[in-house]
C-alpha cells in the first residue's frame, strides 16, 4: 500500500531558505543543502524547493542548489518558481530535479503543462495552485499570491489534470503561515474532483491538523515549511504521530 508523504518545503531566495507569513515578512531559515540532508535523515519522503527570488541571478543559484542537493540526498526533488518555458524545465530536471512545479506560468500559458507532460512525462509536472477563498468557492492566484487570476481553483485543477499535470500542489493563501490548520474544505473539494495526487499546503500548526488534512481533506501528501524549519516538529515526530493514528507512513 502507498504511504502518505511528508514533504518539507524550502522557499529559496538567492541560495538561502526563507519563510514568510501569508506570503510576506520573509525571514532567513538556513542553508538549503544542509536542511535537505537533515530532512532526509529525519525520514522526509520528498523535498520541494520553491525559488521565490525573482531575479535571473537567483535562478542561476537555484540550479546550483539543485545540483548540490541531488548529489547528496537521494529522495525526490520538486522545484518550482520562475519556470516559464520548456527550456527552464529541462535545465532544472537536468540539474537533478525529478519534478517541476508550475503556478503562474501555467495559468498564463496552459499549453506549457501539455508540452512539459509530452516531453518529460506527466509524472514530472506538478501543477501548483495558490487558492484563495471567494465566498463559496476559491480562485487561483498568481504572482506569489498577489494577483487574482479570476479562474476558479477547482476548475483549474481539473483542466490542469486534462492538460497533463501529474500532481497538484494545493496551497491555501488564506491559511498559509497562520498555523490554524489546512483549508480542509478546499482540499477535500479539489481532491474529489481530480484523479491525480493532491499535496496539501498552507496552515499547519499542529500534528492533529496534518492528520485532518489526510483524513478529512483527503490529501495524499502534506507539505510543511516553517514548522520544520524552526524546529517545532521533526519529520520523525510527525510520522510517529500519524503512525499511531493508523495512517500508513514509511
Amino acid at each position: 500500500m502507498l504511504a502518505i508523504r511528508i514533504i518539507p518545503c524550502l522557499d529559496v531566495d538567492n541560495g538561502r531558505v526563507v519563510k514568510g507569513v501569508k506570503f510576506r515578512e520573509i525571514r532567513d531559515a538556513g542553508d538549503p543543502v544542509e536542511l535537505a540532508a537533515m530532512y532526509n535523515r529525519q525520514g522526509a519522503d520528498e523535498l520541494t524547493f520553491l525559488d521565490i527570488g525573482a531575479s535571473y541571478q537567483s535562478r542561476e543559484i537555484m540550479i546550483d542548489v539543485v545540483e548540490r542537493v541531488s548529489s547528496e540526498v537521494f529522495i525526490p526533488l520538486t522545484v518550482g518558481g520562475g519556470i516559464r518555458e520548456v527550456s527552464d524545465m529541462r535545465r532544472i530536471l537536468n540539474a537533478g530535479a525529478d519534478k517541476v512545479a508550475l503556478c503562474t506560468a501555467a495559468i498564463k500559458n496552459p499549453s506549457l503543462l501539455a508540452e512539459g507532460a509530452e516531453i518529460f512525462g506527466s509524472q514530472c509536472i506538478v501543477l501548483s495552485i495558490d487558492a484563495k477563498r471567494h465566498g463559496d468557492s476559491w480562485r487561483a492566484y498568481i504572482n506569489g499570491g498577489r494577483i487574482d487570476s479570476g479562474i476558479d481553483a477547482i476548475e483549474w485543477a481539473r483542466q490542469g489534470e486534462k492538460l497533463g499535470a501529474g500532481e497538484i500542489l494545493l496551497n491555501s493563501i488564506d491559511m498559509d503561515g497562520t498555523k490554524k490548520g489546512y483549508d480542509l474544505e478546499l482540499n477535500r473539494t479539489l481532491s474529489e474532483q481530480v484523479n491525480i495526487p493532491v499535496i496539501a499546503s498552507g496552515g499547519a500548526g499542529t500534528l492533529e491538523q496534518m492528520y485532518d488534512a489526510i483524513q478529512m481533506g483527503k490529501a495524499d501528501a502534506v507539505l510543511l515549511a516553517s514548522l520544520l524549519h524552526y524546529g517545532e516538529f521533526t519529520v520523525k515526530d510527525i510520522k510517529n504521530y500519524l503512525k499511531a493514528k493508523g495512517v500508513r507512513i514509511r
Binding site: L2, P76, Q123, A221
Partner: protein, 199 residues
Amino acid sequence: MIAIIDYRAGNLKSVKKAFDFLGVDSKVVASPDELIDVDKLVLPGVGAFGAALEKLHQLNFFQFVQQWIQQDKPFLGICLGMQLLMEGSAESPGAHGLGFIQGKCLRFDRGKVPQIGWNQIIIKGKSNLLHGIEDRTYFYFLHSYFVQPDDESCISATAEYGVNYPAILKQGNVYAVQFHPEKSSDAGLKLLKNWIEKC
C-alpha cells in the same frame, strides 16, 4: 565499468549521482560506441513507452541492448527501463518493446494515476539484489503502467496498488525494478550497492 544509457528520457543523472555517492565508477553514454569497456548496463528512464523506443532506435541502442540481455550480461532496468523489457504496452499500442520477457504493460485502473510515492515491496524469492533488504521495505514509485509477464517465475517482488503487480523482475543476470532506487534514500542505495557488488 557501469554504463547508464542516455536516450534523452528524463532524469538520468540521478542514477549517475547515486553511483558517484556510492564511490563507484560509471558513465552516462549517448551512443553504443561508448560501450566498449562496459560490463554492467543500466537502462533508466521516465516518460512514454513508445517515445522511449523511438529514441532507442534512433540512437542505435535498441539492438545493442537486446543483444546484451539475450547474452545474459549484467543489466538493471529502472522504471520505464523495466517496462521496455516487455513485448508491448497499453501506453503505446503497436510499439514493440525489447521483448525479453513475454507479456505486456497495463495501466492502473484503480486509485489515483500515476502512483506517486513510497510503497512496500513484498519479496517472493531470494535474490542477491535484495541482500540485507527486508520484506515490506518502502521504495519510491512513480508510474502509471505496470508489467504483466506471462510467466510469473521471473517476479522476485511485488507491490500492491489496487492490484498486485511486479516490483522486481529477475531473469538470469537481467534485473529490473519498477521503483526508483536512486530516489529511495537508504534502501535504494543499498539495492544499487547490491547490484554493483553481487549481481
